[in-house]
Symmetry: C2
Subunit: 339 residues, 2 copies
DNA sequence: TTGAAAGCGCTAACAC
DNA sequence: GTGTTAGCGCTTTCAA
C-alpha cells in the first residue's frame, strides 16, 4: 500500500519530499538549505514538492547531524520588569539576519531555578549563552565554563566574568547618584527598594550609594523594602511609610523607577515641595517616566546597548576585551534641585 | 570566537559517563532520566561519574531517538506590552512540574514574522503550540494544522480556531463597555488607540463598541491613533489633541490602559471634572493602574487564566470544548460616573 | 551536479 | 537489573 500525499498521520520527512519530487534526499536537503550547486530545474522541482506537501524540516535531526544549532540561550530574572524586554529587543535586533535565534528562559531571581534553566538550555547545545548577572550557583558556573561556547554575562560588570561581561558598574552608578544628591545639598536620605535577596545589582547600587554617603559623613536615615505587588502602588505605600516614620527625610532613593514613580505620585498628591523640600531618584530610565506629570531623576541602565553588544559577541564580532563597560547617564529630571 | 578557559576538548557524551562509571550507556541513560529500575549502587556510581565530569545530556540526540520534545512553542506579538508577560506567567506556572518547557517567540504584530517564528518553532518538533490570536498567514495556518500537535490560539475567540481557542470575545468586550458608557449618560464619545493594522483584537473591540453605539443612535465624535513611543506620553498627547479638536467630547475610550493612564493624568493635570464632565476607560486591567491617583475604568483581559488554561490543554488536561471563553469583568473605577 | 553510505548521540525494544 | 541492537531524520563525506 502506498501512502497518499494527504496522509495526516505522519510528519513529513526529507524522504517524502524526495519521493514526491523524484530527487535524492541529499539534493533535496541541499536545495532546502541553499547549500552547494543544484541545477535550476532540480531546485524548482524540489521547492514545489516541498511547498505542496507543506514540509517543515526537522531541526533536531539536522542539528544532530551537523553538530550545529542556531539557538542562543538568554537567561533573565524576570519578564515583568520592563527592563529585560528592552534587553531582549537589543538582542533580537542584532541577531536578526545572523541566522541565530534567541531562546528566553526566566529564573525569577532564584539561583536554583537559574541553574536548572541553564542546564536545560545547554542540553540543547546552543551556539552561545547570554545570562543576566555575574552571580550563579557553582554548578551553573561549571556547566557554563565547560560548555565550549561563547558565554556573555550581562547587565553587571562588578565581578569576574566566566567568559565575557557586558554591562554597567552598579556600584559606580550608586556612588554617582549619591554624589549628585549630596552635591545638591540633601542630607537626610532614605532608601526604598526591593526585598529580593538575589537582586545583586540593586544590592551593589545600594553599596556604592552608602559608600559615598559615608565619605560625606552621612548614613541613611531610613530604609524600606518590599516584594511583589504593583510596583507603582508599593512605591506609594513605602513612601508614605517612610515619610510618616521619618518625617525629616529630604531625599528618597528608590531601587527602580516604577516604585520611584509611585513615590513621586504620592508626593505630588500630598503637595510636597519637590524637589526643594524633598528630592527623589530611581534607576533604569524606563520610558514610562516620560508620561508622568513631573520627571523623576534616574540613571539609564543602557539596556538596549547591552543587548546589542552581547548579541554581537555571540554572533562572532571580534572583541578585544573580556569586559565591555557602558556608562549610564544621570538624568536629573525635575526631582533633584539644582543649587 | 573565544572559548572559556577550560581543560576540555570535546563535549561529553553518555559514552564518557559510561566509561568513567563502568556502567553501560543504556543504564547510564536510565539513571539520568529516572526511567526503569536501576540498583541503588549502580545509580550512585553513575550519578557520581556524571557529576564529576559535569556531563550535560544532549537533548538533540535524545529527542531524535525518542521522538519526544519537552518544548512548548509560545508565539506572542510583543513582550513590552505588560499583557503578554502575564500570560507567560500563567503558562509557566502551569507547565511547571509537567516536564514541559515554554519557548517564546515574538512576532511584533507582523504576520510574516509570525509565520517565520512558527516555522522555526515547528522545525524543533515541539509538543504543542500556543499562539496569540486567530489571524495567521495561510501558510502558517497550514503548518499548524498539519503539525500533529495540540495548538491553542489564545486571547481571542472571535473566529475559527485551528484546534483550540482560549480567550475572551473582544467584540463583546467592546459592546459591554459601550453599554456601560451609554448607560452612564455619556453621548459624545471619542476613541483613542493604536494604529497597528494587525492588532486584530483592538480592532474587534472597536467594532463591538461602535456597533453598540450605533444601536443607541450614536457615532464616535472623534478618533485618534498612534504608534510607537511611550504609551503614557502618547496617551497624554492624543488626549490633548482630541480635546482641543473636539472640545465637546464627554468620553474617551482608549484601546489600552497605558494610553488611558496617560490620558487620565492629562485630565487630572488640566483639572477636568472626571468622571462628571468627562469619563475615561481603557482595556486590560493592568496592575499599574493601582498606583494612579484615580482609578481608570477598564476591563480585565483574564490574561493569567488564559495562560493557565492554554497550558493545561497542551499538557493533556481533558477538554470538552474546542473553545474556552472567559468573561472579562468590567471595572468602573473612578472614571465612569454612576447616576 | 548528483547520489550513496556512514554516522551524529541518544533511546525503544528487546534479550539476558 | 542490565546490556545489546537498531534506528530516529538529517548532513557530512566522498564517489560518480
Amino acid at each position: 500500500m502506498t501512502k497518499p500525499a494527504s496522509d495526516q498521520n505522519h510528519t513529513l520527512t526529507l524522504r517524502d519530499v524526495s519521493e514526491a519530487s523524484g530527487v535524492s534526499e541529499m539534493t533535496v536537503s541541499r536545495v532546502l538549505r541553499n547549500r552547494g550547486d543544484v541545477s535550476a530545474a532540480t531546485r524548482a522541482k524540489v521547492l514545489e514538492a516541498s511547498r505542496a506537501l507543506g514540509y517543515v524540516p526537522n531541526k533536531i535531526a539536522g542539528a544532530l547531524a551537523s553538530q550545529r544549532v542556531n539557538l542562543v540561550g538568554v537567561v533573565i530574572p524576570s519578564l515583568s520588569n520592563m527592563v529585560f524586554p528592552e534587553v531582549m529587543t537589543g538582542i533580537s535586533e542584532t541577531l536578526e539576519g545572523t541566522g541565530l535565534q534567541p531562546v528566553v528562559g526566566v529564573s525569577n531571581y532564584l539561583p536554583d531555578k537559574e541553574e536548572s534553566v541553564i542546564y536545560e538550555m545547554l542540553s540543547w547545545r546552543p551556539s552561545g549563552m547570554i545570562i543576566a548577572g555575574l552571580e550563579h550557583t557553582p554548578a551553573a558556573h561549571v556547566m557554563l565554563a565547560r560548555a565550549g561556547i561563547p558565554i556573555v554575562e550581562i547587565m553587571d560588570i562588578d565581578g569576574d566574568p566566566i567568559d565575557h561581561a557586558v554591562g554597567i558598574s552598579h556600584r559606580r552608578a550608586g556612588r554617582q547618584m549619591a554624589e549628585a544628591i549630596v552635591a545638591a545639598g540633601y542630607r537626610r536620605i532614605a532608601f526604598l527598594g526591593t526585598q529580593m535577596p538575589n537582586d545583586f545589582r540593586a544590592k551593589k547600587r545600594l553599596e556604592g550609594f552608602e559608600e559615598t554617603l559615608g565619605r560625606a559623613g552621612l548614613t541613611l536615615v531610613d530604609r524600606e523594602f518590599y516584594s511583589g505587588g504593583s510596583a507603582l502602588l508599593k512605591g506609594r505605600e513605602m513612601t508614605a511609610a517612610v515619610l510618616s516614620r521619618t518625617p525629616e527625610t529630604d531625599f528618597l532613593y528608590y531601587s527602580n523607577d516604577m516604585i520611584g514613580a509611585g513615590g513621586l505620585l504620592y508626593c505630588l498628591d500630598e503637595s510636597l515641595d519637590v524637589p526643594n523640600k524633598i528630592g527623589l531618584a530611581g534607576f533604569n530610565g524606563v520610558e514610562l517616566l516620560d508620561g508622568l506629570p513631573c520627571k523623576l531623576a534616574t540613571m539609564d541602565a543602557c539596556r538596549l546597548e547591552i543587548g546589542r553588544r552581547a548579541a554581537e559577541i555571540i554572533s562572532g564580532t571580534p572583541v578585544t576585551t573580556k569586559v565591555s563597560e557602558f556608562t549610564p547617564k544621570l538624568q536629573f529630571g525635575d526631582t533633584i534641585r539644582t543649587r
